[in-house]
Amino acid sequence: MSRTSILIIGLCAANIIALILACGLGTTPMEPSRIISALIGQGLPSDEIIIWTIRMPRALAASLTGLALGASGAALQGLLRNPLAEPGILGVSATGSLFASVSIYYGLAALSPWVIPSAAILGAVTATAIIALAALKTRSVVTLILIGVGLSSFAGALMSLLVNFAPNPFTLSDIMNWMLGSVANRSFADILFVLPFMIAGLLIIWSIRRGLSALTLGEDTAHSLGLDLKKIRWLTVLGAGLATGASIALAGAIGFVGIVAPHMIRPFVHHDPARTILPSALLGSVMLVLADMGVRLLPTQTELKLGVVAAIIGAPAFIWIAVQRSNGGRGA
């Protein structure tokens, strides 16, 4: 069995364990046997309600968000050929949550449950498309990342404007939730709304994995190998945009998972972009389920937001990866 297969099996097992542990956590602690009985419909009715309506949807929401961000990060890094490319850094997450917030601010969200997910996805795809268009004009990835940082700051500024002018505390609190990122109180209905977009995005990313490997040799050589460069660019944009957008619709803006997960996976899969995608998605999922457990375990007065914890862990990791790269002489 190859190293990649062993890694994938290990990560699947870690995901299952993390999900079960997350279900055991809460004001009514449950040991694994009780959780499993409740999961398979053999437990106490009260346990089943707690697990199926509260804990499992929350844990699954964290898991799916991590899955989408891990895969999107790996795909964008393959396309832009840089380990620092990531939905958060490139402004995709911020633009997605800005669009979602605008729909909340103007009360559009009340019109239909589809409004917020659609707005978040539209924002994410728009930002990814801007980055991909900029990628056509410039070969410097540093420039691209700076454009992403600009995009992110601009979306952040507009979000602050919305917060500033929020008509009432409820709108303010809703917008803050999108900015900070959280999976608290998610239901299966919330998950089902975004699932089709997420699956579509992940399938697109999976379908282009071979092309991302070919890009290792540079665009000219990849073209000579028979890769359609235009097609892979817009498919990556669409795939990463849909998956990230769906994750924002579910959990708001959560950064750095897309950068840390692929970075940890790469040495185990010989740095092949195609083989990085699935394990990165699975690791992203484990990371967010565990981080969300941390959020629930920490004895703070107000519950911490998942996005805040992800950023506190992820931002130093980003700096570390950037420094490591410049030390290795392969400027970012």
Partner: protein, 253 residues
């Protein structure tokens, strides 16, 4: 079987990079493209491969215009060896060679049958089998040149277009890489190779193409086209020529 280029022009804005170039490359032929910096050699190669769009003219593979070939069909007809660039990721040697099978739908992680044997042959022809598992980052310059050539070989194309494959290599490795290209041609394939070393070109080429200012100035055998006058005209240098031996004496004027 051949690639024929007719009246090829490449213009970017108002600048003419390649002007009205026509030539043919047949199987069993090693053609070396010579010319000073900025002559349009790389542009010509890239236009043949459709990496840079042509302004006018045609590139025909067999009897089909290359523009009508699907990206996969083109990739199975012509392999491209660009000037060596740093790799994006420190991939494994055998994974990079496996990318040569991209146009056949091969997946480097699950190679089998013909794809696997093409990769194995390319690795052993380039004496890389023993380092197949190594990270490409740990290879020396000469080994990297062989690695990229192995990737092109694995594609099993009838034609190879190579851009300065021996630049930055020591003399021993220059001979080694050109020897590999010579062997590829002797097996019935065709190669168009850009070189800067006139002595090496004279030694290995079946035919020389001379370019300057975007135009093809001469096309013929080494004996016909390698002259003192030509070197003056193309490179602005004085030289002594004795058969296929060239001694550059210095710049003119």
């Amino acid at each position: 079987m051949s690639i024929s280029v007719e009246n090829l022009c490449v213009k970017i804005g108002n600048t003419i990079l390649v002007e009205d170039v026509s030539f043919a490359l047949k199987r069993g032929e090693l053609v070396v493209l010579l010319g000073p910096n900025g002559a349009g050699k790389t542009t010509l190669l890239k236009a043949c491969l459709d990496i840079i769009p042509k302004t006018s003219g045609t590139v025909t593979y067999e009897d089909t215009p290359a523009a009508d070939l699907s990206p996969q069909a083109r990739a199975r007809a012509m392999a491209y060896l660009p000037q060596i660039q740093p790799l994006t990721w420190p991939n494994r040697v055998k994974d990079i060679v496996a990318l040569g099978r991209f146009a056949y739908g091969a997946n480097p992680s699950t190679l089998k049958g013909e794809d696997q044997s093409a990769v194995d042959h390319a690795l052993s022809d380039c004496e890389l089998s023993h380092m197949a598992e190594r990270s490409a980052e740990t290879l020396s310059g000469g080994e990297q040149a062989r690695l990229h050539f192995a990737r092109a070989l694995a594609a099993q194309t009838p034609f190879l277009l190579a851009d300065e494959p021996v630049a930055a290599l020591d003399p021993h490795h220059q001979f080694k890489v050109l020897g590999l290209i010579r062997r590829y041609v002797d097996q019935g394939n065709g190669a168009l190779v850009i070189l800067h070393d006139i002595a090496l070109a004279a030694r290995y080429a079946d035919r020389l193409l001379w370019m300057k200012d975007g135009q093809l100035k001469a096309d013929g055998s080494v004996a016909e086209t390698l002259t003192v006058e030509r070197l003056k005209d193309i490179y602005n240098v004085d030289a002594d020529i004795n058969g296929t031996r060239v001694e550059l004496l210095g710049p003119r004027g």
